[in-house]
Symmetry: C2
Subunit: 448 residues, 2 copies
């Protein structure tokens, strides 16, 4: 990291101001070449702002402010200059071109945050929290990521990491005195400590699905045979006309996807095409997409036309439950307004989408489930990478446990626990590979 | 302006950082209520940056930097705090909600720049330069606006304004000594000064059309009878397949509009529907749009199918020239590849769009005209408002000139010149009305 990188740090587009960031050993030198103000940027204090012009030789580009952060007191841990210019794409591109001409290199995706990690300003869980915050679709998710960024997860992990190393040393201590045939700590106590560690890993890992809901929203798919009233229900839940409703089966060719917010949690409701055999190629594409949508759903509402029969969609419900085991599937009886009052009572979820009957009850039902599903995330949003590492650590600890139970050599137990500790170290990035970093930063955009 | 306003100052969307601005007497107090850092924001120096957290009671929202600008050394001339948070829409909305809860008001469109004007930090020509820079589509236009923002236009206008007041005092001086029957300055000299002033106004005002080209791009419309090859030419100029080309007349139902850049000037090329009588309603809508497009064109190329006859489109050219007097209209002979070589020579603009023959010559021709059309803009992009005021001032000065020539009373001449000076004052906003301001700031977005 001997070079100095630059990129637009704010979202692209038109606005009052845009901020262009420079980071690296030559940040102030490069900025000073194109900045003309009352003072040179070479000799200013950290965390100060200076007013001036960006000029290309004699050509005025813009009037700006330049904020200077000297290492290590900056986001990246390097010298950083942030140029606030007027918020137009052509102003930004002129200034960035000028900075590149003056010796800076265009930053790669996630380039600034990667330097923050490599300089020890953020660990990997914090890096991932930054990405989650920026792309957050729900306020609880955003707030959980903020806590993760502030280091709550880091400190929980490092505390746990210390406990594992503690067990290692206990086991190794016993090893040192093995010749003396004294059992310094009993195996039962070690076993208990390992059990606790396994529980910790499994519990955290299993909050991954809840975290996905906070990260991307709670997904509710509406499925059912043609003309069950799926699009009408979709509109009723959204409280407005979004889907084109018609009497002709197969009107919904594509799937429709809209987000509503219940208690600040994003609930993505998807209206799928009618599930049936079809030869119409557009409709087949729609069906294929419907399948991928249902696959990602947390809840699938199988809508049944009760006027045909309350049991008409039972086999569909069964096949959907079998095909999508990750989702909670519910049968919803629709068109109950067409039944006699005395016939309505038996079905737990009964509505009339068209007459807007019991739609609020259904919305409450969805809300309750969405809330319950996210309750487990306290101060960390476990992602796929972290869950995989936690599962691996749990397996390694279970291996250690097995060795304890089999009364195997302490060296082996200690080695297995140390492996688990190393696996956990990968979560925060204590140990990392270029491949892991590339994978993480590929999610970032340029300028982050 | 006793209240404190807040808004997102950077473009909306996802990015590394977003900047939320507070401006007004309570900026630091309000920011300090939600900001927890090592220092209170109440007692910091101007142009300093402070690291900390935004918290809602005990709830952590984000880790941010807060930049403090104390009045009058800020964009608006008031106390300003700029909070740089992570660049996610939900983070931004949480912080803005919190600031509003703590006493700030959401800024109106252009709210910050309006305060900058009212506090004398920017005049109206500079305000308009800010808007032009942000929305600029060409680098020369962007750079001209930057010069206008830096005050070049302001100083030219105020110099000119002073000259007018100078003439006034000369005329009034003569007035004071009128009884003594001495002609202190001859009327011829005053007349010359007024003539110079009129020229200044007319010259500036007439650069309005060139300014529009730098501001929005040079517009080239392609017109012609069906099957003349308009869409093929459009694609050839763009160097790629954009329009759907077919042998069936009337394929282009809507108009297509693409921008190419020649010497950093945006050239908007528009392919219009075939001009002919039609009963197809979609095509009629297309024709109507084509008319509005041609109306805004700087250049109209009337494409003729030379294989029918080189004179086949002459009457069309004539009627287009008559209908759109603001545009330069040229007949372009197409399909010359189908003529014998000896028949090709006579027509100045001859191409084969399909065979890509002489397309670069046509592109050069357009480029030359676009360049010439924008040469007159040096350090100001005159807009409609300014052109109208300059025209009005020219008329008022012509009235004064007429009074001089008619040897009318000096009081009348002086009054008319003073009126012109006042009209010019409206350009920079020396004199302004709420209506004028509202009109200007309605072009701005919130956060500017």
């Amino acid at each position: 990291m001997t070079d100095t990188i630059t990129a637009l740090a704010t979202p692209p587009g038109n606005g009052g101001i845009s901020v262009i960031r420079l980071s690296g050993p030559e940040s102030t030198e490069i900025a000073d070449k194109v900045f003309k103000g009352n003072t040179s940027l070479l000799n200013v204090s950290t965390h100060t702002i200076h007013y001036g012009s960006i000029v290309d030789a004699d050509l005025l580009i813009d009037q700006v402010t330049a904020a200077v952060f000297l290492n290590p007191q900056s986001y990246t841990g390097e010298d950083v200059v942030e140029i606030s210019c007027h918020g137009g794409p052509l102003i930004v591109s002129q200034i960035i071109n000028l900075l590149v001409k003056s010796g800076a290199r265009l930053a790669d995706a996630g380039g600034f945050t990667k330097r923050a990690f490599l300089n020890g300003k953020l660990d990997l869980t914090q890096v991932e929290a930054v990405a989650d915050m920026i792309h957050s679709v729900s306020i609880p998710g955003c707030q959980t990521s903020a806590r993760q960024l502030s280091g709550n997860f880091t400190s929980r992990l490092s505390e746990f990491h210390a406990q594992l190393l503690d067990i290692c040393s206990l086991v190794e201590l016993e090893l040192d005195f093995a010749d003396e045939d004294v059992e310094l700590i009993d195996r039962k106590s070690i076993g208990e400590k390992i059990e606790t560690a396994i529980d910790f890993c499994i519990e955290l890992s299993s909050s991954h699905r809840s975290a996905e809901i906070l990260r991307s929203g709670y997904c509710v798919g509406i499925a059912g045979y043609p003309n069950a009233g799926k699009s009408t229900l979709f509109n009723a839940l959204l409280k407005r006309e979004r889907a084109i409703v018609s009497e002709t089966p197969g009107t919904t060719r594509d799937y429709l996807d809209e987000t509503i917010y219940v208690n600040d949690i994003a609930v993505r409701i998807t209206d799928t095409a009618g599930i049936r055999e079809t030869k119409d190629s557009i409709e087949i594409d729609g069906l294929r997409m419907a399948e991928s949508v249902l696959d990602q759903s947390n809840m699938i509402l199988v809508l049944n036309d009760v006027t045909i029969s309350p049991h008409y969609s039972n086999s569909l419900l069964f096949s959907i439950e079998t095909k999508y085991p990750g989702a909670k599937c519910y049968l919803v009886q629709n068109k109950i307004d067409k039944l006699h009052k005395e016939d309505r009572i038996d079905y737990p979820l009964s509505i009339s989408a068209k007459q807007n009957m019991f739609i609020n009850d259904l919305r409450d039902f969805i809300e309750r489930d969405a809330m319950e599903s996210t309750e487990r995330c306290q101060d960390v949003l476990i992602n796929q990478r972290q869950a995989t590492l936690l599962d691996r650590a749990a397996t390694e600890l279970q291996n250690a446990m097995q060795l304890v139970m089999d009364e195997r050599e302490n060296e082996l137990i200690s080695l297995e626990i140390a492996t688990a500790a190393k696996t956990l170290g990968e979560i925060t990035g204590e140990t990392w590979s270029e491949e892991v970093l590339n994978n993480i930063f590929s999610r970032f955009c340029i300028g982050k």
